[in-house]
């Protein structure tokens, strides 16, 4: 492809030279030549790149940095990782992607020519140095093939990032190792936090009560450990006094929970600045998903790699941002990066915990001829996108069912995906209950069919028993707390936790939602105003269930958005998200973005709420000491009284408090642990444009451990 392109380029250039020569010759004997100033300047790749630099500075640099280096608002668009992602693609696909999705706030003042110029600028910055002809909307050469070897070498990070163990050690030097069995996972020791959200039911609840409403005001810092920099939304594990934690860039560390001493560190790679929320533990292994969609098991004692499996092909855009759970002796993991028009779809998959062998896959997109396959408006399978499972699910050992939320269809608005509001697109935006033995769907409940505003229902499923009744609770970005029977999926009840005006009706018998008419009929480039915004309601920060009080306490967010669909061509390899968005304060909240809401799981009534200006950036956890812990963008980490939401203690960390707090005990002493961290998409971008007065350092990922004085 490159060869043909160059031949064509040089042929054209030769023709141009000949033409100029002829014009010059003719000028000596015939009529005077037209003044040079009147000749249209030749448009070349280089001239496009010059203009593209200006257009980029105006429209893109605020989020992606003036040198395409990336900021907290947008990813980097240069260097090795960008070429790794886009090098095998074509300028046509890159143009389609940018035109459909960027900038997020709208593209009213950006012409098609501007977009082409911006693509030329990005390519030039990334070392494309053998293209001469101007780009067109249908330029289809392979990007990497036009980057010279010299430039490609320069793009590699220097020095090369380490791979494998960088700090060797053994947890048995600190405490005798006892394998973590499935039985122990099903009934964790009160001193441990051995999985994401602590138990299979995703309660994020600790039965420890040494720290309680009476003495929490005395909490003091025990130790702090700085983490690797980059995007981070971590959820550490603690087992038998050892802290296991994932850093940005797929780096795992083991630390002594009592002192903060590093025991071992393993770089699984790729060494980037990307985020991974959680890891899992089983028997003697720590199991991580990687940002390039692999599963890797490490020896929990030493950090040495035990096995590795491929979850999906990252060159096709697949990725992971959340880790696995271990359920029924299997490693079960979701998948993200499923917005592209390719034959492969998103799935949940299970692996043998001993060797990583694939056991089953459950695809979250129903294809033609399959059950539910007729819900995509007759769209060809290749254009059915979305349904990511980017948040880790939960598990009921008695029912042998694993519960996951699925993301919405892609692109975000029905008209962009060439569909209508009646094309519900199974099994997107649903709770899916999947049999852990077979990987078959047991039941599903689609909370918001034909989703139209980038408000997915993908977050954690909290399992609650009330007497003999078994329920699953969830809150999606619409901020609706859903209550379903988890044996059958039957809708039971709901409560709106924040203001929403997207639905004019929610059927109290069936849970069926009815979108506002203007949202149903939204056309391309037509602005629709709705609440909440794409940061939720609720986002990835897990809520907690406090069994003693029967309360669910959720970290919530109060902002709104204007949304306008963009056009997306049905082209294989294309796709994307395709909407312009603007954000504003939620009316009636007095500018309070953060809300902690407590809900009675029987009556579904709000029992109390606490609101504040700063958005919340951690999950909530609760303890038997009648406490709720939560952290925010303004660096504050707080303890609330679970009975009334009163703030009983707070402290301020180095930067925004982000991740999932945990509580554990060593030698009978209770600890509270929380992370400060940077990064994140909508939950950070939206407060960044609304609560602009809140400032915090752009570095400072760390883990903090608190306890009561001896």
């Amino acid at each position: 492809m490159k060869f043909l392109f160059d031949v064509k380029t040089r042929t054209v250039s030769l023709g141009l030279i000949l033409s100029l020569t002829l014009v010059a010759c003719g000028s000596e004997t015939t009529e005077p030549a037209a003044p040079a100033a009147e000749a249209a300047p030749e448009i070349t790749f280089a001239s496009q790149a010059v203009l593209g630099a200006e257009a980029f500075a105006t429209n893109c640099a605020a989020c992606h940095g003036t040198s395409l280096e990336g900021t907290t608002l947008g990813p980097l668009l240069s260097g090795f990782s960008w070429v790794q992602r886009w090098g095998s693609q074509t300028p046509e696909l890159l143009l389609n992607n940018i035109q459909a999705n960027m900038p997020p706030g709208g593209n009213d003042n950006i012409t098609d020519e501007d977009y082409l110029n911006i693509v030329a600028h990005i390519l030039q910055v990334n070392g494309v140095d053998s293209v001469f002809n101007a780009l067109t909307a249908s330029s289809v050469f392979e990007i990497a093939a036009n980057i010279s070897q010299v430039v490609a070498q320069r793009q590699r990070p220097e020095p090369p990032a380490p791979v494998g163990l960088t700090v060797a050690g053994n947890t048995e030097d600190y405490v005798p190792f006892v394998p973590l069995t499935q039985a122990m996972l099903e009934d964790p020791d009160p001193a441990d936090w051995p999985m994401h959200r602590r138990n299979h039911y995703a309660h994020s609840y600790s039965p420890l009560d040494q720290i309680n409403t009476e003495n929490v005001g005395n909490l003091t810092l025990e130790w702090v450990w700085n983490m690797h920099e980059g995007d981070s939304e971590p959820a550490p594990l603690v087992y038998n006094g050892i802290v296991y934690m994932i850093n940005p860039g797929n780096v795992i560390q083991a630390l002594d929970g009592k002192t903060g001493e590093l025991i071992w560190e393993h770089w699984t790679g790729p060494a980037n600045r990307q985020d991974m929320r959680n890891i899992a533990m089983y028997e003697d292994k720590i199991i991580q998903a990687t940002t390039d969609a692999r599963l890797v098991a490490l020896d929990a004692r030493t950090g040495e790699q035990v096995w590795e499996s491929i979850v999906a092909d990252s060159s096709k855009g697949f990725s992971n941002s959340s880790g696995p759970i271990v359920a029924d002796d299997k490693v079960i993991v979701g998948l993200a990066g499923c917005a592209r028009y390719i034959p492969e779809d998103c799935y949940i998959s299970a692996y043998n915990a001993d060797d990583g062998a694939l056991l089953w896959q459950f695809e979250t997109i129903a294809e033609m001829g399959q059950p539910g396959g007729d819900t995509w408006g007759g769209l060809d399978d290749v254009f059915r996108a979305g349904g990511e499972t980017w948040i880790t699910g939960s598990y009921d050992p008695d029912l042998k069912l694993t519960y996951w939320g699925t993301a919405q269809q892609k692109p975000w608005v029905p008209v962009s995906r060439h569909m209508t509001i009646y094309d519900v697109g199974l099994y997107t935006n649903s709770t899916v209950a999947v049999n852990t033995d077979s990987g078959e769907l047991d039941w599903y409940f689609q909370h918001v069919p034909a989703e139209a505003l980038d408000l997915d229902e993908v977050f954690e499923r909290v399992l609650v028993n009330r007497g003999d009744d078994k329920y699953v609770f969830s809150i999606g970005k619409y901020g609706i707390l859903w209550k379903n029977d988890r044996v059958t999926g039957k809708f039971e009840d709901y409560v709106e936790t924040v203001f929403q005006n997207a639905f004019t009706n929610i059927d109290s018998e069936t849970g069926e939602v009815t979108y506002r008419q203007d949202i149903q009929n939204a056309q391309l480039n037509e602005w629709t105003s709705a609440c909440p915004s794409s940061t939720g309601g609720k986002d990835w920060h897990s809520m907690t269930y406090h069994p003693p009080s029967g309360l669910i306490i959720a970290p919530l967010s109060q902002t709104c958005l204007e949304n306008a669909a963009r056009e997306v061509a049905l082209v294989q390899g294309g796709g994307g998200l395709a909407a312009s968005r603007k954000f504003f304060e939620m009316p009636g909240t007095d500018g309070n973005l953060g809300k902690v809401g407590a809900y009675n799981v029987d009556t579904m009534e709000e029992v109390w709420s606490y609101q504040q200006r700063a958005s919340l950036h951690t999950g909530t956890i609760s303890t038997a000491g009648d406490l709720v812990f939560v952290g925010d963008l303004d660096r504050r980490f707080k303890a609330l009284n679970i009975n009334n939401g009163e703030i009983l203690w707070e402290t301020r960390l180095g930067t925004s408090v982000q991740g999932h707090p945990v509580s554990f005990a060593i030698d009978g002493k209770q600890y509270i642990m929380v992370n400060s961290a940077l990064g994140g998409s909508s939950p950070r971008t939206v407060p960044g444009v609304i609560a602009t007065e809140i400032t915090y350092p752009r570095w400072g990922n760390a883990i903090y451990v608190f306890s009561l004085p001896d």
Binding site: C63, P103, P104, F499, E562, F584, G588, V689
Partner: protein, 150 residues
């Protein structure tokens, strides 16, 4: 019927609102918090400012008194628009507004009975337009003042 905790609180707040009642006319106090119009990372430094508007309804007369500060350019117009929370709508009333980046916004308006009902249903909002942001720079929906004290 026994009042629940929430209902008791609402009743108490409603009683406080009525405390200002004059001998002849009942008054209600409303409030709008003014904050930037919908924005993006690209426009966040161009659509700026804040403000507060207190509105007193006496009979069908609505007295508007507020202030604003920190806009990107001088205010050009102030309006009350008709639209439910977070759904923009048409202009219903014009207000007096300081021709500056900060100042006052005021007016005395006669509402129809329908408009009084719309006010009570939170279907009005205050909007200030500026030289640089002709479609609007600051906006805030009008709620009973007691709503913000819950």
């Amino acid at each position: 019927m026994q009042l629940g905790r929430k209902s008791t609180l609402l009743f108490f707040i409603a009683s406080l609102s009525l405390f200002n009642v004059s001998a002849q006319t009942q008054t209600e106090t409303y409030r709008a918090r003014l904050s930037p119009m919908p924005t993006t990372p690209q426009t966040v430094t161009e659509i700026i400012g804040e403000g507060e508007v207190i509105l007193t309804l006496s009979g069908n007369t609505l007295t508007v008194d507020g202030n604003f500060t920190g806009m990107s350019s001088v205010a050009t117009m102030g309006h009350i628009h008709n639209g439910p929370p977070a759904q923009p709508g048409p202009v219903a009333f014009s207000l007096e507004v300081s021709s500056a980046t900060g100042g006052s916004i005021s007016g005395e308006l006669e509402l129809t009975d329908e408009q009084v009902t719309a006010l009570k249903n939170n279907e009005f909002y205050v909007q200030i337009h500026s030289q640089n942001n002709a479609p609007g720079e600051l906006r805030g929906w009008i709620f009973l003042r007691s709503h913000f004290q819950n």
